[in-house]
């Protein structure tokens, strides 16, 4: 009665290694290396960093295992799919997690929350994201999403003595639980009307004649989209984003803005293409609405913000809107644009947050954008890199961000979504205002006191991101080729 052939684990080997690595790390740190009571706080502060390095090592190992995989493999009765699309996004997510850990060392030590649980939770969240990206079944989708989200709620509140951090964790948890409830409700409707939870089965139900008038299927799809829109913080389900981004410790915010968004967007693409290809006309309208609303709100709401973390939150909402343009196109070119967009967004965001982490005086971190005044006089390299990153986020040629937007808009035009492309271009022009305002503050305002010295890892991330953004136009083909190969595995 058991189909033993389907129990081949090789497709999921990277996930298994990562999960076992996370648990092993937890064991090593909990039982080894000094007892929790007694011992001075000094040895504890090194433990956070040691756990972080071990976590990065595990992430790199997982990435190597991913690179060794080829072709499309399915495991666990098709609940787990490892194809070029999944591997492309997974590599990005692993890189995002590793760089977020690298960014966290200095800041968390100063905030006295450099506990070894932080890298462990980041690893477990990464396992959840990889499960999401590879999901081939509604159950796998939900479990991956919940594994990722639960770890993120805890990470948001990890500075438990700080009111804002606790508030961020609480808000994230309550709204995240609400969205999970909606998603589950949608999934149960889908199961009721399609009779299966696998994406292949859903696709069969969605392609059957009369599926477009099957209200149960459509309602389930809408609820599923609502739940996922919460996770990618697309308008009108974005309300938690600014508060959570502002309240969570900055390196954790960097992690939030980078890896989970990628995973959730990849999951959205996977479930819509693999599971609901037959209902393309129906979901395309919803995605176009989410995309336009996110782009416009991201552009206009950020204008009034003076806290740089809130500003980045609105910026990330806007960028989700741009990424959704690629999804709305519903073509291979659209997915390719989406993947390139995600890769460039990841690097730029991590670089920007490295700069935000460098905004620190001796008395503590500062988050107001006017504290950046005159940065060009105090620290020209950092001002230059930050300006390049913000120009890239705004989409100024010839920086990487311009090409990211170009690919998704080109895909939209090719799919004859002219209105969407025009609104996208206009909102990116509006959005350019607040990025340029910061550049103006940095280069032309009266200098404020200098920032204290930046930690070497933060500097490393900053410089790497800056180089990528500036030099992308010189040699773009590896990324484009990889994205094109990945997009082929997702067919409408």
């Amino acid at each position: 009665m058991t189909d033993l052939v389907s129990l081949s684990y090789s497709a999921a080997l990277p996930e298994i290694v990562l999960a076992v690595g996370a648990m092993g790390l937890l064991m090593i740190e909990a039982f080894g290396g000094g007892s929790a009571n007694g011992r001075s706080g000094n040895s504890d502060s090194n433990r956070g960093e040691r756990a972080g390095w071990l976590a990065i090592f595990i992430l790199v190992g997982t990435g190597a295992l991913l690179l060794a995989q080829t072709g499309t493999e399915r495991a666990f009765n098709d609940a787990f799919i490892s194809d070029p699309f999944a591997r492309f996004v997974k590599l990005l997510v692993l890189a995002g997690s590793a760089f977020a850990i690298l960014l966290s060392f200095d800041d968390l030590r100063r905030a006295k929350v450099d506990r070894y649980e932080v890298p462990v939770l980041i690893l477990l969240a990464t396992v959840g994201m990889m499960m999401m990206i590879s999901a081939g079944d509604l159950l796998a989708l939900y479990l991956g999403l919940e594994l990722q989200s639960l770890a993120l709620y805890v990470l948001a509140a990890v500075r438990r003595d700080d009111v804002r951090s606790s508030e961020a964790g609480m808000k994230y948890f309550v709204l995240g639980a609400l969205s999970s409830g909606m998603l589950l409700y949608g999934a149960s409707l889908l199961y009721g009307f399609a009779g299966t939870t696998s994406f292949a089965g859903l696709e069969a139900a969605a392609s059957a004649p009369g599926a477009a008038t099957n209200l149960g299927l459509i309602a389930g799809l809408v609820f599923l989209l609502v739940g996922l829109a919460f996770k990618i913080s697309a308008v009108p389900f974005h309300m938690w984003t600014p508060d959570v981004y502002e309240g969570a410790p900055t390196p954790i915010t960097a992690f939030f803005a980078a890896a989970p968004k990628l995973a959730a967007l990849a999951l959205l693409a996977r479930v819509l293409f693999d599971g609901f290809g037959g209902l393309f006309i129906q979901w395309q309208k919803i995605v176009i609405f989410l995309s336009i609303a996110s782009m416009l709100l991201g552009a206009f709401a950020a204008i009034g913000q003076t806290n740089i973390k809130r500003l980045m939150a609105y910026s990330s909402i806007g960028h989700v809107g741009f990424a959704l343009v690629g999804l709305a196109a519903g073509s291979e070119a659209g997915i390719e644009g989406l993947l390139i967009y995600l890769a460039i967004y990841l690097v730029t965001t991590l670089g920007s947050f490295a700069c935000i982490l460098a905004m620190r005086r001796d008395e503590g971190p500062v988050e107001d954008i006017y504290e950046l005044a005159g940065l060009a006089e105090n620290n020209l390299p950092m001002a230059f890199i930050l300006a390049m990153l913000f120009f890239s986020l705004a989409g100024v040629p010839p920086l990487a961000g311009f090409f990211a937007k170009f690919y998704v808009f080109a895909a939209a035009v090719k799919s004859e979504l002219y209105g969407l492309a025009i609104i996208g271009v206009l909102s990116s022009v509006v959005g350019a205002f607040y990025y340029l305002r910061i550049v103006k503050v940095m280069f032309f305002d009266e200098p404020k006191p200098r920032f204290s010295a930046t930690a070497p890892y933060v500097k490393f991330v900053m410089i790497t991101a800056g180089l990528f953004v500036v030099l992308y136009a010189v040699y773009p083909s590896p990324l484009i080729d990889a994205a094109a190969a990945a997009a082929k595995s997702l067919q409408l």
Binding site: L26, N77, F80, E117, L121, V127, G144, V154
Partner: protein
């Protein structure tokens, strides 16, 4: 057959009676204890139905965890139940309405079953002959659904780690038990012979009391 019927009526009567006692008992601790009795009787009914796995689950999860949690809440939080009960008559219509809706749904379920006898057959997935339902569940849980099973395990691990990260505090100056130190204590390290002069303190360094 008659024996089964006797047990059915025994469990059913006790379940109904103790269910009623949960509502009417004055003492909240008694109410929770009656709730536990209800769970046990419901478990008995499940065994009569041949669902021994559900019966065990009911005992382990509801009696072992949920009811004990209720007891903790009732006993540790000082809830004034007399005050809560004061609105019993006032809230009775709402309660009756909710109860009525549930009853109507149950009746509809039975009616639907009678009207369309084919429906339950398509829903139910019968277990193979010769296996107990615990075995059947295990066979499907550890093969077809092993991925979800392990994923759910990871989710629970994260919940546990999260609870510890957010609430466990190592306060300075808290005296903790060190079992190794306690076991290693012997007469040589624990006992000190002191010659006490008459009228002096037994503690050598302390000043003598007047």
């Amino acid at each position: 057959m008659a024996l089964t019927a006797i047990f059915f009526y025994l469990f059913a009567t006790l379940a109904l009676a103790s269910g009623a006692m949960v509502i009417v008992a004055k003492n909240p601790v008694h109410a929770v204890l009656f709730l536990i009795l209800t769970f046990f009787n419901a478990a008995g009914l499940f065994i009569l139905l041949g669902a021994e796995f559900l019966a065990m689950l009911l005992i382990i999860v509801y009696v072992g965890a949920v009811a004990v949690l209720f007891l903790f809440v009732v006993m540790m939080l000082d809830v004034d139940f007399a005050e809560l009960r004061a609105g019993f008559i006032k809230n009775a219509p709402v309660g009756l309405l909710v109860g009525g809706v549930v009853l109507a749904e149950l009746v509809l379920l039975v009616v639907a079953r009678v009207a369309a006898p084919a429906t339950p057959a398509t829903i139910a997935a019968p277990i193979p002959q010769g296996t107990t339902n615990t075995e059947a569940l295990g066979q499907i849980l550890y093969t077809k659904y092993v991925y979800f099973f392990q994923g759910a395990g990871l989710v629970l691990l994260v919940a546990m780690v999260g609870a510890i990260v957010l609430t466990l505090r190592h306060k300075e100056g808290v005296k903790r038990q060190s079992i190794a130190d306690q076991v290693a204590r012997g007469p040589a390290t624990a006992v000190k012979m002191v010659k006490v002069a008459s009228g002096a303190s037994a503690i050598p360094d302390a000043p003598a009391k007047r």
